[in-house]
Symmetry: C2
């Protein structure tokens, strides 16, 4: 009989031997600290161990594979949302959910690409799921309708945030001005703007105003969110 593959089903530690020096939360917190400061690629088992002042392979007493650490990290970050409450009404509730998710993602830019898709089953994540479901309290909706609405909303949020973070990284990795960006954009410099092969793209590159504005992504997110909520509204009760 081997251990359960899901970390949350394994007891954190036995009752027999010496007390462990650290906890899973210590490991998670250390990993989050490293990822926030130096990026997700800096998170290695050796680096975490160094941060905790312990031996590298000692980590495998708390975790059975590196993926478990990532799972712990995801749930650790969701813990930051503990204590928040949702406003009344499904629309304000969903809006709040979307903003909270985006803020959390921007605070920990490594998070979305980490958990993208895969659901986390840690206690904080379960709590968060429970909270999001509470946005529909009192509407007596079909379970499937709720899941569909939440799925659509969080798909948009995840997708938007990934795009936003991708832009941030691209911009940071090669601090370019708008002109340089336009210059190097294409296949072969002139051939994109001049060749006439991409007339619409050329026009967009010339006319687009939004890339200049600092709050561009804020506005894009808000606008997109309202449209998604509009779309959901047609299939949900008035309230």
């Amino acid at each position: 009989m081997q251990d359960h593959p899901v970390i949350w089903m394994r007891p954190e530690h036995g009752t027999r031997g010496p007390k462990p020096t650290h906890s899973r939360r210590d490991v998670a917190a250390a990993a989050v600290r490293i990822a926030d400061a130096e990026g997700i690629d800096a998170v290695s088992m050796r680096r975490i161990a160094a941060e905790l002042g312990t031996g590298t392979t000692s980590l495998y007493r708390y975790v059975s594979k590196k993926d478990d650490v990532l799972e712990l990290m995801g749930d650790e970050v969701m813990g930051e949302l503990r204590g928040t409450a949702l406003p009344a009404g499904w629309r304000p509730g969903l809006r709040a959910i979307a903003f909270l998710l985006r803020e959390t993602a921007l605070r920990h830019p490594w998070l979305p690409s980490l958990t993208s898709g895969r659901a986390n089953h840690g206690p904080n994540s379960l709590w968060w799921t429970e909270l999001t479901l509470s946005a529909f309290d009192g509407l007596d909706l079909d379970t499937d309708e709720m899941l569909a609405a939440l799925g659509t909303l969080s798909a948009f949020v995840l997708g938007h945030v990934l795009g936003e973070l991708g832009d941030q990284e691209a911009a940071r990795r090669s601090g370019l001005t708008h002109e340089q960006w336009m210059e190097q954009q294409g296949e072969y410099g002139p051939s994109i703007m001049g060749s006439g092969r991409y007339p619409r793209l050329t026009r967009v590159m010339i006319e687009a105003e939004t890339p200049h504005a600092a709050d561009r992504q804020d506005r894009l997110f808000e606008a997109g969110l309202e449209r998604v909520l509009d779309g959901l509204a047609a299939h949900l009760p008035r309230n």
Copy 2:
């Protein structure tokens, strides 16, 4: 004067020495083949070189870092869409775009997590961008409005597909029945369903019908997509 950091701006090869044995497309195609068959983690420089029957470090004649290979892979896959045309009208056009993107992603499950966010500037990707922009032909829309609409749409598609693929992988990695899934779901087996701490989640786990249906994700995608399009419709011309 060093080489340009963006691969598409570097000439594929010089004019002076011996003709290269392979091309960038060969490298890209080999990498795509490996990723399709064995997953993205199997794509290593040594593995690609073996697939091509060449020396490992010879690849660095075609590419200056592994990230370039990933960029090539992304553009290679977008080439599959060459030759498709969009139906008339913005709504059918956007719908077709969404379906094409999803189908491509499902055909190459490693793609979304690879390019998630970062824009690809290869020729095929530029062509695809041009095509998506053509969905708004004849509406004389503001550039920023077009970008906002396209951004919202593709955020939803990306987010949905990532979730769908995450589910697929989770299901495959531990072929569980619905009951087993429910059993092992929570923090500590009984404590999630029984503790009363997650009443809404408990209800969802019991009632949810969708996880059983084979075409569940198809229907979720279509439903979500229509809602997003509904939301966009409110801010776009009738046609």
